[in-house]
Symmetry: C5
Subunit: 340 residues, 5 copies
């Protein structure tokens, strides 16, 4: 049952020890157990309260095995937790499994992500994260201080709040991308460079990855909303429906940004083409004016014995007159052609 | 229940005080209450008449709280009102929620929009707008003067009329875009510039935003038309079906305009390419004619002691003959190649 | 009920008087009433026969009002008749409403269209056209002469024949476009010009408009075919299914022509590019051959006192030898590069 | 009932007389009647055996009328046979109608096609072809020799075998296209010409036409497979399902080839661009090296009285040194820029 | 029943003898029979155990005939095994048929594939491969050593493990492609060449072929997951659902890679364009600076008798001053235009 050689892109192993945390609460009480071993966590579970077990790091096979044994987790489920997955919801007999990507925007302006998986049962919620650090610190504080309605609700509401926090963070990332698109638009107006092009490509790539994270989420959440699962109570369903609306809205925005980015590409290409045309026009104007003139002066630079024009009194000034006329004629011609 | 930290792109807060308005009518009577406080609005509601409560501005938390309390509005619903939403319809136990974008075309030719949300129950309709000023002044006057059938109908018909006004305004905006596309077509025929390109891009962008506003509307309205909600009576359903037809028609037109715009882009690109080719042709013709000639005159500009041609009697005129022949030959060659 | 300010792109008002016509027939009798007023039309209706009322022009509000009153037409239906609509079928209690576009190919090779709407009941069919002149003259003659099966059938068969005539005319228009595409293909083979490009764009635009007229027709006709309406009898259903097949076939052809047109665009662009490359090659060949040679002759055109080559016996002919070698070398180089 | 003026692209009339053939068989007996008139065919039908009536040519109205009369063929069905149709299956009360395109690859490497229609009843199958000659000769021989299972089966199996033969021939055509794509790939590697481009376009066009023939076939065959028709027995259904699989496989392959062809186009375009860039680089290198040098030699070709350099002892050789330095510097510059 | 002339792209015949293998096991026993003839295989089947018959090579008609006879395989099924098929699942009365492509990445970095077909019944599984060598050696060893749960399960679990192994191998191939895409990205940053372009095209082509193998797999596996077949037990269904998830995840990744590849193409094209523009700029700057200067020196190289400037004291230095001014002016102009 262990050692299965399944490996559709296994998640990279984290480093350091796996950190376990248990937050246990009901309307009246609140307890938080930090840095415990798996056994102590299991001992502290209280089936009359909401138990939120958070696992930071998946590199310790023993801990996973203990949890698997205690909560009767299916082999495939454990495989799903430790391997890169498409966001999805799956109902098992004793619990509901949900996995998705948690996105971070790191300062240097790239998007990082980790996979987070949830196992929801009637009175507990286990969350498996790839590494330490998540988006929930603010929310943990709210539970402790009994703010909002979370302490009055069950584990299904807890999962809703966590999912909601993750999905809201997608918005923040998307808004950043929106700002970048606007920045680039202004930049292009000033003059588009290869740098601009690279930024557009970076945004394009980020949108591709966001799309990969968000699109399947729609199906996954819709599965919950349909209300076929018994682990989400009817009164909580509307909240999940709200997440569903957010995800669909996100997808709309992703599509819009995709269109905007490809419009930016068009603008960039056009600016590049314009510049090229301008370069060619300057070259063409200068060349076509001076090449014939250079020919003329070349003619009278020839050393033939017999060139009467050279000895004529008005030869030189007349040559100038002719050349000025030709040059002016050319300029008029280009003016008419609207080359400048 | 308050203070929820939901924030998928919260709507920008309006300025100044929030303006409340109540229009109360039935077949015989009509009353309009302006600039009242929330409490006075609530006192003036008459459940035997149609009550239209209009809220201009969402920045005053207290007013929203009072309305929420009186009408038992769901937390999520209030969140939806104050945050940027995908157009959608949602049925709650006691009311129907509908939200969409109201678009304005401002003089300087850009499209502005605000989000408008409706809460419809049997005898009242609440509309929440981001800021003062809407498209309904003409229609308010019609209610007052008892024109059309609105005074004989219930709140569901009132909502229909408001939605219809909003959707009709989409048409006006779309027609403007249609006119602009035609203008640009004529412009391109005269000669396409970078300015033209920018206008095409602007239209493209406007269509992207319109699409984002109109596409989800289809699903939202279709939800109403299916007649599953009890807040819309059967005899009013056909009117909502009419809105649905309009929205689908709008989407058709949006797609058509999208295709037309991308056809415009093709024409613009082709015009640019043609111009480039023309520039290169002029450069090529002039250069290829005069470069060999300049070589020839260069030859006879050399100072070798021993150049018999220089001293020949017909050297100079023969050189001219040769050069004219070469030039003419080149011209014929280009003529044959159809370069001009 | 009147004066509704609905206006999603109202149809342009025709000029001149509205023309009413009534064709009344059964197996034995045939009557045609021309240029009557609305009242006289109504008086002449005979509920035991098939009554085809044709209205040419929608500009006369009074006539529409009288018809609306007599046939109990719904407000929304009258709005639909006078406004630009998506092709659609709608069932009302007492009649079936069907609206679509009737296309004409005018000589100067552009496509014109008008909206035509039908109201079908058990014993009458009303057709509303924007202006005088339609595709049905040949068919009116067939009714009069009792050719085909129309005189033996009811109003639903009459509507089928009219729709069929309209849809068949789409084919004629599409075939013309097909012929134009073939013409352009031959033209491009001879040499593609900016004129060719404009023709391709024109076809593209016509296909966009055809698509807008034909695509929604599929849904509209499919609604009739499903047989849910009581105004079309079972034995006539197969005929409507035939129209449905034609419409689907039309859509296939439209898609094919769209693909062919975009292939034409590719060919055009490639031809343009080839020409540009050819121009550049000629320029490059001539320039790269003569520019070094001109440099050499320039060298010996210098006036330095101390240039021994100038005074050497074989200086001049050797220079020629060198220049011919360089020129020939260049030509070989270009030959190897397959530049010509 | 005749003379209907339906004409969505009527099929072109064949020439010469229409050829009728009847193949009549059961387990024991086999008869083939050639070149008979319609009346004789009808007389020879034996309702206890399988009767395959094949009609080559649709130009003879009288024959069609006789068959229509005897087999009670619906007017619309006869229209469908004689007009260009989308592949489709239609069930009538007494028979099943199926129409599709039969494709031939003619030697000169173009695809030709004719429309073939089938009318299947319990004990007969009529096939209508546009012209003489089909893909079934090998199969007719198999029937005669009682090879395979066809003689033991009914008319529905006969139709399966004919359809299967037609669909298999699509594969042969597609494979030819596959081979051509591979040929072109090799050609492009050697050097892409305008000829290559034309071949890619030809393949693209053939794929467009194949798509038009094969895509609708999926729907048509799927209609048969669903088993709603009584003219196909349950035990034969699996064979039709096999045809369905083949058609879906064909569509997959068509899509793959479409992608491959557009990849070929990309490669072709890129090759063209590379060549253009190469041409421009040669031009730029030669020009930018020699133009400054020519300027320098021009300077010392001037005839000013007062040019001390001309009389300096090392003037001429120094000029050469300078020019060689400039030329070498330029070459280094281009080398660094990786222009060659 | 044999010799059917079906031939939608028949699979290429393998060479050498066909190799048969039987692996027979239950919880306690394990037997492996190698290189047996068809008759001996059949004799060794034990209906109380799981029997896995593996056929390497399809070229021996007799062996196939014997297997067909013993297992009552349908003609169409045998056709499907020996012909190129779309991945699909089909249920027959006595067994389930499943066919898909098994992909290998061969060292020289191309993807090779063979078709593998499975026939699953309650107590046996037959696998048909085109040639010797597969991905299952590691797994055969696991069966022998009784690792994992396979020995405790039935034939349906065996099929799951084989399918899983094949699908996991798709991931390995896809990851390789992912690595190549990243390599190319870095390469382009350094400077894109025609070689880079070819690599992008190769990846594009590989993705097209992968898509053809993986997309239809979704439908095939989904057919199994729906649980309509009796040959897969309910407790094994979840494992098949897991394969389904993997396939959908693969399709997501394929789409992502497709987008990334087309983004790479854009970057490549842009890099090419930039290089071209740079080349043209250098050419334009050098030409436009020196062409006017060359004209000037040409003027004073003319041999007119009457050119006062030539004899002026400051003629030569002044000419230089003028030329330097012009050159500097040009440079400033280009600087302002940001050409370098």
């Amino acid at each position: 049952m262990t050692n299965s050689n399944h490996s559709p892109t296994e998640l990279p192993l984290g480093e350091g020890p796996v950190i376990l945390e248990l937050i246990r609460y009901d309307r009246e009480t609140y307890d938080r157990f930090n840095n415990l071993g798996a056994n102590e966590i299991i001992e502290n579970l209280d089936s009359k309260k909401v138990n939120w077990v958070n696992v930071d790091g998946l590199q310790d096979k023993k801990i996973l095995d203990k949890l698997q044994a205690h909560f009767c987790l299916h082999t495939l489920l454990v495989d799903d937790i430790t391997n890169d997955q498409r966001p999805k919801a799956e109902e098992y007999d004793d619990y509901l499994f949900f996995t998705l990507k948690m996105l971070y925007r790191i300062e240097g302006r790239t998007i990082d992500y980790e996979q987070i998986s949830f196992v929801l049962s009637t009175n507990y919620l286990i969350s498996f994260q790839e590494k330490e650090g998540d988006l929930f610190d603010h929310f943990r504080e709210r539970i402790r201080l009994d703010q909002g309605r979370v302490r009055k609700q069950q584990a299904d509401y807890l999962l809703y709040r966590l999912l909601d926090t993750i999905v809201d963070n997608y918005y923040i990332i998307l808004e950043k991308i929106g700002e970048q698109i606007e920045d680039i638009e202004e930049e292009i107006d000033k003059g588009s460079t290869h740098q601009t092009f690279k930024q557009i490509q970076k945004i394009k790539k980020e949108l591709i990855f966001l799309r990969k994270a968000v699109y399947p989420l729609r199906d996954a959440v819709s599965k919950l909303v349909k209300g076929e699962t018994s682990f989400i109570k009817d009164e909580t369903l509307r909240f999940y429906a709200d997440i569903y609306d957010h995800v669909v809205h996100l997808i709309d925005s992703l599509d819009t940004y995709k269109d905007l980015t490809s419009a930016l590409m068009d603008i960039h290409m056009n600016t590049q083409n314009n510049r090229m045309t301008e370069v060619m026009k300057v070259l063409a104007v200068i060349s076509t004016i001076f090449i014939p003139l250079t020919f003329i002066v070349g003619v009278y630079g020839m050393n033939f014995d017999n060139m009467p024009e050279l000895h004529a009194r008005w030869g030189y000034p007349l040559t100038w007159v002719v050349m000025v006329c030709i040059g002016a004629g050319m300029l008029l011609f280009f003016k008419k052609k609207k080359w400048f």
